[in-house]
């Protein structure tokens, strides 16, 4: 039996919302008995797109993270459900029974990922089904995956080592969105936005961009090196949250600069001007 899962590559996502819209096209106002009641026309996002603006002018980027139901193997919603209203199919898909789950509002807060929505009108908790009603008809992938123009969503059998999804997981590049929840999720991610430290280096004497300058990052558990590009820009991506780092900038003929940065948010250090070592600075500060 298959174990269906999805790998979501945040680095490919352009934020077009096709996944969210495809889901609405499939589920809004259309019910699939045994699988899901109709999604209300507005207000629910069974695959939600989270936009995160990172950095500050002029070093800005945006990451879009699509968040469907994680189809957890240790699903808290199953545990919190009364009456067996939430169950796992043999293929790993977690289904909220649209009849049995009536009135079970506690399921909404049972999910730490916040992907269960409350249908006020139907008195019903609802969520993503991986389009199980289509898979059972022979479809190869859910609607959101079919409509992704970037190839950012990969759907497949995680127990089949030959599936694209399995290969991505095996590549070691994936992680779950919140490993701390410890839910054995069947949805994994590539490129989950972490934190960056970036800056721009210029020569103080000429005010030209300082290209090809060595930048050394050090901090707990993360030591890295890079060089600036021809605009003098450098970036360390994928750093952990809330961690103090030291950045050292070394250019031949210029005084070494050391800066500190803490990754409470993404850090753009701005334009860092290097001071040229001249005779007078040498005399003033020997060694």
């Amino acid at each position: 039996m298959a174990r269906y899962g999805m790998v979501i590559d945040v680095t490919k996502c352009s934020g077009c919302y096709n996944c969210t819209l495809a889901c609405k096209d499939e589920h809004c106002g259309q019910e699939y008995p045994g699988y899901a009641a109709a999604q209300p026309v507005t207000g629910q996002f069974w695959i939600r797109l989270v936009e995160k603006e990172r950095g500050r002018y002029p070093k800005v980027k945006v990451a879009y993270t699509a968040v469907p139901c994680m189809q957890c193997r240790e699903a808290t919603c199953i545990k919190m459900a009364e009456n067996g209203a939430v169950y796992r199919r043999p293929d790993g898909i977690v289904i909220i029974d649209p009849v049995k789950a009536k009135g079970q509002k506690q399921l909404v807060s049972s999910c730490p990922y916040r992907v269960i929505y409350w249908n006020e009108e139907k008195n019903l908790p609802q969520k993503c089904t991986f389009c199980a009603h289509l898979l059972d008809q022979g479809w190869k992938e859910p609607r959101c995956v079919e409509l992704c123009p970037a190839g950012a969503l990969t759907f497949g059998d995680l127990d089949d080592p030959e599936s694209e999804a399995s290969k991505l997981v095996a590549s070691g590049k994936t992680e779950v969105l919140h490993p701390e929840y410890d839910l054995r999720e069947n949805v994994a991610y590539v490129g989950v936005p972490k934190k960056f430290i970036a800056g721009t280096v210029a020569y103080g004497d000429t005010d030209e961009c300082a290209g090809d300058v060595a930048i050394i990052l050090s901090g707990p558990g993360a030591n890295a090196k890079t060089t600036t590009d021809n605009f003098g820009d450098f970036e360390f991506e994928g750093l952990p949250d809330n961690t103090a780092f030291a950045v050292q900038i070394e250019a031949k003929g210029y005084r070494v600069r050391r800066l500190r940065a803490k990754t409470q948010s993404d850090v753009y250090l701005g334009v860092i001007k290097l001071a040229k070592i001249t005779e007078s600075t040498r005399i003033g500060k020997p060694g």
Binding site: S14, G15, K24, Y57, K61, A63, E208, D233
Partner: protein
């Protein structure tokens, strides 16, 4: 009844439509099967690239089902309650009064009756009409067929469109590299392979392809991801960190709006100073460089165009300008603007002719056409494509799409009226004639069309008494939209008809409203992503797919297909036989099918059954015709460019400029407007008539840029699907109302006491628009970004010109002044505003 899967085509992708019990249940991409031809493969840098075997859709197309069944559909024919064609017409109440439902016969009799009366009283030139851009899609039955054939047979004053998405290229670049047959932009062939193999970086100057690739869906997104995977750098120059920049960009450079030409001049300065340009190309393939060089070095006016000089103007650091110039010279660079899908907001601003011409000159200085160096629209065009397969687009026969197969085409000879109107000047023409202007907005026949002097009314011709709108809305898409509100309330306009699928902002100004069906409620035929005509053989998709657009459902409510409506009007006016030539809808489609290359590959029955046909992509060793390569190499043009009039002549190795070369000093301008200081023969930065250093900036210190909207094709999808209202990039729901976002930098928000999510009023002397402040680092300080073409003009005082608008119609604020005196384009992005918190 079991589910059917039918094929359709839209303005943003070819689709499969699932229909059950007469109701649409799904809108999907078309997924190719094994019987369809093999995909192309590009081998580059040790990798093989081949596209996914399905179509991709623009996000707004994924909402088509919601749009088709939208509550905002025009469900019945209507008449304004206080409009009486036999008595009091109350034109002053247009935009204010409500509507009453009437029957089809009454509506058609009234419209035909008004047409007859106005023709007989004033002459056919007293009627004008115009269409949307892409509210539906279909080769025969979208607009140039039904509307174009009808009005050209009826006779009417043609309302010339302006080249609204590519103004600066049309009015400027055409004088630098020719290409009048492409309306001032270059063709794009085989550039995807060239880029994957040879390019080091792409400079996207005022381009956001992830937002504006339109018709071919999002097919090219994967190409840009490939560029990224290969480490090809993407540099973005834009005052707003657009969606492509924010997700794929390596570097964002943000000049003040309207100063891009200064940045371009400084790049040329660095290249000239450092000798890092293609001297051989400049020597052999261009004219006027010596004069340009003198100008750039300051030998003309004592002001060298140094990076420091440009930094003062653009607010881009001097060192960044120098670095950009050096990077560009050192690396094989594609320039992402200047071809379809690379048009950009900078071309819709004051003196944008200068920027567009300088773009051509810069890429010329780097040897346009050599491997890896070219103009490549948004990195969104020119996959391997077989253009020898003949299939036209809806605009291939001009303003009568049926003319492709009709015994007697109605265009261009059908219409006997010679009077012309210009879309940008329509309100002035109605309210304050006479009005004069320079140039035809689409000068695809010959370059000098843009020098023609027009006057309205034409001597001996009547003024306009009737306006007929076929889809779309000027209100919100044209500049200084309040002008149109005033125009519609003029007593000079005796009758306004609006025929459309949805209630657009402008529908509320009509006297008679005719409900039209969407493309999904009728059959048609088309190639996806291919409008034809000036855009012939421009492909931004992975596959050429010809679609039999199958009627999916019966027309909803009392709506009827446009063609059927015009047939009934033509019958009442006595020219139905001539209009239809006895053809049914199916007859037209079949005739069109047989006029193309399709019958060589597939029978009509099989085509109709399967619903689509994939033109076999070229394989392996096919003959490439990389754009502009022929010119770089100095040989005759061999591009599959059907409208290049020089192909096959002894000038086939020349461009369409007067000299046949790229012109640093435009010979056509030198001849026709030698003393024009606003578009001088040699391009240069000219301070904007409404820019950061204008006097008006003291009162309105913020520059508004209003680029093409991401989650709607013009006004056609916004305000039609509740799903789009929930996309926070598109609209922001607050207190139950879907507001338009206005993006502002924290350093501009703070002193105004504006916080993220506040309701704000953006205003200037032309109007005031409410929206929600989106405080973001993605706009440079001093700039507001808010999309144009919101489809919800919602004045607090309906019908009152100048009323505060709640719906986000930012074109109320943009200037009606045109690019420059003789460049009759719109300049939406030269717009000063102030913004403040709004307490309702």
């Amino acid at each position: 009844m079991s589910e059917q899967i039918l094929t359709q085509c839209t303005s943003g992708g070819a689709v499969w439509v699932h229909v059950k019990d007469g109701v649409i249940t799904k809108i999907r991409p078309i997924v190719l099967d094994e019987a369809d031809p093999k995909s192309w493969t590009i081998e580059a840098r040790g990798r093989k690239f081949t596209p996914p075997r399905k179509t991709t859709l623009q996000p707004y197309i994924v909402t088509e089902k919601a749009r088709i069944y939208s509550e905002n559909r025009i469900k019945y024919p209507f008449k304004r309650v206080d409009f009486d064609p036999k008595g009091n017409r109350n034109p002053q109440n247009r935009g204010k009064s409500g509507y009453e439902r009437i029957g089809w016969n009454e509506a058609l009799d009234m419209v035909a009756g008004e047409m007859k009366r106005i023709r007989e009283t004033y002459g056919p030139a007293a009627i004008t009409g115009s269409t949307s851009s892409h509210h539906n899609w279909g080769l025969l039955f979208y607009k140039m067929g039904p509307f174009g054939r009808f009005f050209n047979m009826l006779g009417f004053t043609t309302l010339h469109d302006n080249p609204d998405s590519w103004e600066g290229w049309h009015w400027g670049a055409m004088h630098t590299w020719g290409y009048h047959w492409k309306l001032g932009i270059t063709d794009n062939f085989d550039l995807l392979e060239d880029a994957l193999k040879n390019t080091d970086q792409v400079i996207m100057w005022s381009v956001d392809p992830n937002t504006t690739t339109g018709y071919p869906g999002q097919d090219s997104l994967i190409w840009r991801i490939w560029l990224k995977e290969l480490g090809i750098k993407l540099i973005f120059i834009d005052p707003w960190c657009n969606f492509t920049a924010a997700t794929l960009g390596d570097k964002w450079i943000a000049p003040r709006p309207g100063t891009d030409a200064a940045l371009a001049e400084a790049i040329a300065y660095v290249w000239i100073k450092e000798g890092t340009y293609d001297k051989q190309f400049v020597e052999n393939r261009t004219v006027g460089f010596d004069q340009f060089k003198k100008h750039i070095l300051g030998e003309e006016d004592g002001t060298p165009r140094t990076p420091g000089w440009a930094s003062e103007i653009t607010d881009v650091p001097t060192r960044d300008i120098t670095a950009l110039a050096r990077e560009w010279a050192a690396k094989r660079t594609m320039l992402g603007c200047g071809a379809m899908f690379g048009l950009g907001g900078a071309c819709r601003s004051a003196y944008s002719t200068e920027w567009a011409r300088l773009m051509v000159l810069l890429i010329a200085m780097q040897g346009i056409g050599k491997p890896g160096v070219n103009v490549w629209g948004g990195a969104a065009m020119a996959a391997p494509t077989d253009f020898s397969f003949q299939f036209p687009g809806y605009s291939s026969a001009g303003w009568d799409a049926f003319g492709l197969v009709a015994k007697k085409p109605a265009f261009p000879m059908g219409n006997q009226v010679t009077q012309k109107l210009y879309r940008l000047l329509l309100p002035e023409s109605i309210l304050n004639p006479p009005v004069t202007w320079t140039g035809e907005g689409f000068c695809g026949q010959f370059l000098e069309q843009q020098f023609i002097q027009y006057t309205y009314p034409e001597p001996g011709s009547p003024e306009i008494k009737m306006i007929y709108r076929h889809g779309g809305s000027y209100i919100s898409t044209m500049t200084e939209t309040n002008r149109f509100v005033k125009m519609y309330q003029s007593p000079k306009i005796e009758c306004v008809v609006n025929q459309d699928c949805h209630w657009q902002s402008e529908t509320h100004f009509a006297d008679i409203i005719l409900p039209a069906s969407t493309g999904f409620e009728q059959s048609d035929i088309s190639e996806w992503g291919a409008p034809g005509g000036y855009a012939a053989n421009k492909s931004g998709s992975n596959f050429r797919i010809i679609i039999y657009q199958k009627k999916c459902i019966e027309p909803l409510w009392e709506s009827r297909p446009d063609w059927d409506i015009y047939c009934d009007l033509a019958e009442r006016l006595g020219f139905k036989e001539e209009y239809t030539e006895g053809n049914s809808r199916e007859d037209w489609i079949k005739k069109l099918f047989h006029s193309t290359s399709l019958p060589r590959y597939i029978t009509y029955e099989e085509f109709k059954r399967k619903g689509y046909f994939v033109v076999p992509p070229p394989q392996g060793d096919y003959k490439r015709t990389v754009s502009n390569r022929w010119f770089y190499e100095g040989r005759p043009c061999n591009s599959p460019d059907p409208f290049n009039p020089l192909i096959g002549t002894d000038k086939a190795d020349k461009l369409g400029t007067y000299s046949g070369k790229i012109e640093f000093v435009s010979q056509s301008l030198l001849k026709h407007f030698p003393d024009d200081e606003e578009r001088p023969p040699m391009p240069r930065y000219i301070p904007s008539w409404e820019g950061h250093n204008s006097k008006l900036a003291k009162k309105y210190p913020l520059q508004l840029i209003s680029s093409h909207v991401r989650f709607s094709f013009h006004t056609h999808h916004d305000n039609k699907s509740p799903w789009l209202d929930e996309i926070p990039v598109h609209r922001i729901i607050k207190n139950g109302y879907a507001w338009w976002p206005m993006r502002i930098h924290p350093s501009d928000a703070r002193p105004r006491g504006i916080r993220h999510g506040d309701t704000v009023k953006m205003y200037n002397d032309r109007g005031a628009v409410l929206g929600i402040a989106h405080v973001t680092e993605r706009v440079r300080p001093g700039v507001i970004h808010s999309y144009q073409a919101g489809a919800k003009y919602d004045p607090l005082e309906p019908g009152k010109p100048g009323s505060v608008d709640k719906g986000g119609c930012v074109n109320l604020l943009t200037p009606s002044r045109m690019v420059s005196k003789h460049a009759s384009g719109m300049a939406n992005n030269s717009c000063l505003v102030e913004i403040c918190r709004w307490e309702a």
